[in-house]
Amino acid sequence: MTTTNDTVNAGIAHGLYTEGEGLADTKAPEGPIAGKWTQRQFDAALVNPANRRKLDVIIVGTGLAGGSAAATLGEAGYNVKVFCFQDTPRRAHSIAAQGGINAAKNYKEDGDSVHRLFYDTVKGGDYRSRETNVYRLAEVSANIIDQCVAQGVPFAREYGGLLDNRSFGGVQVSRTFYARGQTGQQLLIGAYQALERQVAAGTVQQFTRHEMLELVVSDGRARGIVARDLVTGDIETHTADAVVLASGGYGNVFFLSTNAMGSNVTASWRAHRKGAYMANPCYTQIHPTCIPVSGEHQSKLTLMSESLRNDGRIWVPKDRDDCDKDPRQIPEEDRDYYLERIYPSFGNLVPRDIASRQAKNVCDEGRGVGPLVGDFRRGVYLDFTDAISRMGRAAVEAKYGNLFDMYERITGENPYEMPMRIYPAVHYVMGGLWVDYDLQSTIPGLFVTGEANFSDHGANRLGASALMQGLADGYFVLPNTIRDYLAKGPFEPLQPDDPAVADAQRSVEERTERLLAINGERSVDSFHRELGNIMWEYCGMERSEEGLLKAIDLIRGLREEFWRNVRVLGAADTLNQSLEKAGRVADFLELGELMCIDALHRRESCGGHFRAESQTEDGEALRHDDEFLYVAAWEFGGDEGEPGEVGQPVLHKEDLVYEAIELKQRSYK
C-alpha cells in the first residue's frame, strides 16, 4: 500500500489551496443511531400554526427535492415562494429518472430492513457518506411510498393489486418501486400536483422562468435571492426568513452528460461564493448504461435505465480485429463477457462505478465497438439474445419496451435484432454544498436538499437512491428541521436600500452588462464544450496527479479567455438564451477548477473515482481510510479583482465516524 502521510499533498505543494480548521455536524443527537431522528424531531423547536404565515421561505428548484418541500411547507402554512428556470415546475430534471425508488418496505419478505438499506447505501457509497444522515434516509424511505401512492402515483402493480418491486443495481433484495421506465416522471408529477394544490390555496407563489443569480446574506444569515425574470430580463430581489436550494447537480460541467440542457451550478455556486462550503465536489457518478456518442454535433447524452442489466449481458469481442464485425456473426467462444468473468457472483449487476470503469478499460484496450469517434470505439454490447430466448420477446417487450423504443429512435438500430451499444456517461454528482444533519449549510438560514447537497451518497450512489433522497429531504426531513431555525424568526424585514440587498442586486446587473459587452469571437457553447473535454479527460473516471495539474492550467487559461473573448448577442431586457448560458458557463469554469483541486488532493481511489496512483496489484481501486476518511468541505478563496480570477480555496475536513457500521474494503468479486 502506498502512503502519502509523510509527503505534502500535491495541491498544497503547488499552492492550489490551504487548509483551515476542521468542521463537524453538531445537530445529530447523541445516542443509538436508530433513535437519533426521533430525538431530533422532538428537540427541534416548533412553530405555532398562527405564526407560520408570518414566516417567508424561498425555495429554488422544483424537482423532487424542491417541489416536495414547497408543497409540504405550504401545507404547513408557511409563506412559500418557489422558483424554477423552466416554464413550469413539472419540467425539472428529476422527471428523467427511469428506474425506480428504493424503500425499506420489505414487502417481498426477502430480508430487507431499514438497517439493510442503510448498510447497502453506506457500503455502496464506499464509506464516504455521513452515517447519521444515511440512516435517517433509510428510515423515512417507507413513508415516501405511502405518500406517493396516496397522491395517485401509478406505481407498477401485481395482478393482486399490490405494489410490485424489483431488484436494482448492486443489491440483493427487491426493494425498488417503479412505474415502468418513468418512475421519476410519475413521482415528479405527484410532487408537482401537490405543489399546484398549494399554489391554488395561496400558500405558495410560483415564479417560473426565473433564475437565481445571487444569494442575499445579511448579518451572516441567508435572507433572500436575486433572480432574473428570464422573459422580461428584470432583475428582482426576493427576501425571506430562510432560503432552500434544491437546484440539482452540476454534471453539465462535463458539457456532455445525461443532465438536461439547463441543469446548472449557478444557484449553488453563488451561495458558495457567499460562504457556503462545497463538499467533495469531485465526486461524480458515471453511469454505465448510456447511449454512446455518435459524433461532434452531440448536445447531450441519453441514459437508459440500468435495470437493463438485470437481463442483458455485457460483452466485447475477445479479439480487437472483431470489433467492426456484425456482432451477431461473432461466435460465443470469441466473446468476452468481462463482468461475468471478473465478478462471478455479481456479474452484470456490479455497482455502477465498477461497470463503468471496466467498460472504459476494455475500450482503452482497443476492444470497444461502434463507430470510431476520434481514434477509439467507445461502446460495449448489451445483448438481450439470451433473455429473448429465455423469457420470450413479449416478456422482454413488456419489461423494457419503452427503453428499446428510445434506443431505436436515437440510434436507428433495432435492439431486438442487434445488440445494443452502451458507454458510460456523467449522470449525477454526489458532491454538493455541505450541510449538517438539519440540511443547513455553513450559512445560517441557507438549507440545501436533494442532489444539490452532498450528504447521503458518499463517493458513489446506488441505483434508485436519488429519487429516494430527493423526496426524503423534501417531504420529511427539511420540513422538520427548518422549523428549528424558523422558530427564531421572523427576522427584521430587509429594505430595498439595505446594503446586503443593494450590493447583491448591483453585482448581478454588472455581471449581466459585462457579459453582453465583451462581444468577442467565440460562442458560449464552444467554451462549454472545451471545458467539458478537459473535465472528462482529466477529472472523469480515472484521475492522476499529472493530469489534474494539467487540467487546472487549461481551465484557468480557458476562463481567462472566456471573459475576454466570449460573444453574447442580444439584449438584457428580453428573453436571451445565450446570456442565460453564458452566466452558467462562467460559473462552471470556476467550479471545474475546484473539482480538479479536490480530485488532486484526494489521493485515493474510492467509489466511482479511480486514482491512478492508488490501486491494488490487480488494478482494483484502493481506498486510504487512514488518510481520507473525511468529507472535504471547501471554502471559497475570494475574488481577486477581475471576473473569473479567484483566490486559493480553503479546505475544511469533517471526519467521518462509523459507529453503527463496520468499515470494510468493498469487494464484489
Binding site: A71, Q86, Y107, Q147, P154, A156, A260, H297, Q577
Partner: protein
C-alpha cells in the same frame, strides 16, 4: 445533407413576427432536430445575428419543454417529441418550416417560445389528490386492480408539451385535461374529489381561451406519448355525472 429552413422570428410578445429563411449544410442524419437548430444558432452567432430562441431541456423526450410546429405537424413527421426527432427523417434539399405552437392560450414570448402557464392553472383547478404530507395510510392498504392501475398509468404518461392543443383545429386542451382526469379517476385515491375536479378543471380550461372538442382526433395523433382519445370520453362521462348530481 443541406436544408432550407423557414423559421418564425418574433422579437417579443407584442411584436409582429415573420418567417425568415436560413440555409444549413453538412447536417448529419444522426443529429436530432434540435441539434440541427444548435448548428444554425452557432452559425447565426458567428455572423452576428441573434440566435433563434426555442425551448428544450431534457432532450430525451420526457420533460415536455420542447415543441415546434415542423412543416405543419406538431413535433414533426414522426410520433415523438421534437427533441427525439432525428434528421434521418428528412432528405437532402428539404425545405422545412418551423413555427411555434399556435393557440390563444399559448401566447408567443419570443421566436419559437410560447407561454404554457395555462396548463399549470388547469392543474391548479383540481388536477391533484388532496393529501397532506404525512397523512397517508400504508401503501398496501388499498389494492388497485391491475387493469385500472395500467390505464391510470397510460393517462399519466402525458408530458404537458401542448402538442395536442397545437394540432387541434379548435386549439382545445381536452386531451391534456382528459389525461389528468382519467389518471385520477381510475384510482381509488382519486374518487373523493372526482366530480368536483372535473367541473373545476373544465371551467378553467374554458376561461383560459382553449376551444371546444369536436372529436377530430388530431390531438391523439400528434401526442408523442400516444395518449388515447378515449380519455376525453372518460372526462365527458365524469362531467355529465357531475353536472347531473
Amino acid at each position: 445533407m443541406n436544408l432550407t429552413l423557414k423559421i418564425w422570428r418574433q422579437a417579443g410578445p407584442r411584436h409582429r413576427g415573420e418567417l425568415k429563411t436560413y440555409k444549413v449544410s453538412d447536417i448529419s442524419p444522426d443529429m436530432s432536430f434540435l441539434e440541427m437548430l444548435d448548428v444554425l444558432n452557432e452559425q447565426l452567432n458567428a455572423a452576428g445575428e441573434e440566435p433563434v430562441a426555442f425551448d428544450s431541456d431534457c432532450r430525451e423526450g420526457i420533460c415536455g419543454m420542447c415543441g415546434l410546429m415542423i412543416s405543419g405537424h406538431a413535433h414533426g413527421p414522426e410520433k415523438t417529441t421534437t427533441c427525439q426527432l432525428h434528421m434521418r427523417s428528412f432528405s437532402d434539399g428539404d425545405v422545412i418550416t418551423v413555427e411555434p405552437w399556435r393557440a390563444d392560450a399559448f401566447p408567443v414570448i419570443k421566436d419559437l417560445v410560447v407561454d404554457r402557464g395555462s396548463f399549470d392553472r388547469i392543474i391548479q383547478a383540481g388536477g391533484y389528490v388532496s393529501v397532506n404530507t404525512g397523512a397517508a395510510p400504508d401503501a398496501h392498504a388499498t389494492p388497485v386492480p391491475k387493469a385500472n392501475a395500467d390505464r391510470a398509468f397510460v393517462a399519466a404518461e402525458c408530458i404537458g408539451c401542448g402538442a395536442c392543443v397545437a394540432a387541434c383545429p379548435n386549439a382545445s386542451a381536452m386531451l391534456f385535461m382528459g389525461a389528468k382526469v382519467t389518471h385520477l379517476s381510475e384510482l381509488p385515491q382519486g374518487q373523493p374529489e372526482r366530480m368536483a375536479r372535473v367541473v373545476s378543471m373544465v371551467e378553467q380550461h374554458d376561461e383560459e381561451g382553449f376551444g371546444g372538442c369536436t372529436n377530430v382526433g388530431a390531438c391523439s395523433q400528434a401526442c408523442p406519448k400516444g395518449i388515447p382519445q378515449d380519455v376525453i370520453s372518460t372526462l365527458n362521462k365524469d362531467l355529465r355525472s357531475a353536472l347531473r348530481a
